[in-house]
Symmetry: C2
Subunit: 254 residues, 2 copies
DNA sequence: CGGATGGTTGAAACCGTTCAAAATCTGTGG
DNA sequence: CCACAGATTTTGAACGGTTTCAACCATCCG
């Protein structure tokens, strides 16, 4: 499982919504075969421009974001390996957000029409793609709740819980830890907090033993405890099997 | 145009994404024929429950929201006449949000399968439904930006601009005014502000002549000026023709 | 070694919250 | 048509979470 995730994270992600015929997976891998490697801070899609390809992230962290007049950035979604963007946005003439890499990435760009046609020929994939779109929208809503109604402490805790579940779903977590190559600026642009406050809040979370975050690696000693502190309920992520394993069952959290 | 909006707001809304064959509109009206009248504060869909119908609002204001443990409410979308909910959410077993009325409403509940099948038989409608889903997602993203990155003053101004454009799109605005039967609590739950601060911010906006809001009616004397103050750019709403009229062109704003 | 990036710390200022109460509006029944 | 109750809006004052500004430190890497 872990092996396949590195060669085709996209298929692995789609499988987290339900089993897929292995033939489908191989055909899908062919679609994303010609991937490109990019450094950090590269833009793949620009806000307000037409865009008829789907961006599939195979390695690294990318994000969807909007830039405001004052130069502020609001990140509205993370794209981790297996995630894609563009099945919807951009259909009506132009994208309402930019897509950029946060870390060095490997990405494939598939013409949207080709991917949709592929989904029609392989119904299980088509269904999984629709599921992915729905799950993305649910995450977006949860982020609105996060930014609107939770304290800095909960926002960051919640984000780290979400990432644990998502990283597990693609086989990129080891136990209760995962690599998180983001800066505190990135976390601030995601949670709508200043870097300074992100830093202090992180120290608080560390001080209480809820997280360890050392040189790009996060460990969550007791996911159930962090989830409770951050009011995190993984239901919105729509892959319950993985989610239950990650935080729902205290027996698995040590 | 105004006449039809009252009899079939749903069709009118879908038309705002592009012209539709009139036969389609009539058939669509039949689908939503058996509507029900509801009072304020009625729940139509509960969070975390399966839901296989699409809610179509024909009259009144409804909303999508999430309730947190502390009793706080975050509204994540408004459903004004013509808007629908449930084409996506609920597909994966359960809804990630509740739907409730904010004011007395007339709503139709259409089985999702029936609506999707209808969209297949009437391609223009199917396309319009997809457009509506995409536009909804863009609005959700904009709300995240609004709550995350804008001041109270801008948040509320932005919301009122958005509503002007949306109300115009369904023919429910008169000039630069529209009926807004929401309480300041509702505005607070939308913009993630306390009622007290909503009240003071509203007074500020009124004091500067950017809005008038008297007994459930909002007037925006100079939409372009309010849009500038609130950093509002209607592009994300995806019906540019209406949007340009509403705030893009100063000559029309008086 | 030196420059750049990212992380950490302190202090002051601010935006928005909370609590508490008063004023106003709205609808309803007598 | 009035009286009353509940909902909504408004006001005041104190508090506090978060931001901003301004340094300083650590680490990485050529």
């Amino acid at each position: 499982m872990q092996d396949r995730s590195s060669t085709n994270a996209f298929g692995h992600k789609l499988e987290s919504f339900g089993a897929l015929p292995s033939g489908d997976l191989e055909a899908l891998a062919a679609l994303t075969a010609d991937a490109q490697s990019l450094g950090a801070d590269c833009d793949l899609v620009h806000e307000g421009e037409p865009c008829d390809t789907v961006v599939v992230v195979l390695r690294g962290f990318a994000c969807r974001y909007r830039l405001l007049a004052g130069g502020q950035r609001q990140i509205t979604a993370y794209l981790i390996p297996g995630d894609c963007f563009g099945l919807q946005d951009g259909v009506l003439g132009m994208s309402t957000s930019a897509i950029g890499t946060l870390t060095p990435c490997t990405v494939a760009q598939v013409p949207r029409d080709a991917l949709l046609a592929f989904g029609r020929r392989h119904p299980a994939i088509g269904q999984a793609l629709r599921s992915a779109v729905i799950a993305d929208e649910a995450v977006l809503q949860e982020w609105l709740v996060n930014v609107g109604r939770r304290t800095a402490y909960q926002r960051i805790g919640h984000l780290l819980c979400e990432l644990l579940v998502r990283m597990r779903a693609i086989g990129a977590a080891q136990g209760n830890g995962y690599d998180l190559p983001l800066t505190q600026y990135d976390i601030g642009d995601t949670t709508a907090l200043s870097v300074v406050h992100v830093n202090r809040t992180l120290q608080q979370l560390r001080g209480e033993g809820l997280i360890r975050w050392d040189r790009r690696r996060v460990e969550i000693p007791d996911p159930a405890r962090l989830a409770a502190a951050a009011m995190f309920d993984p239901a919105y992520l729509h892959f319950e099997h993985v989610a239950a394993e990650a935080v729902g069952d205290r027996r698995l959290s040590a």
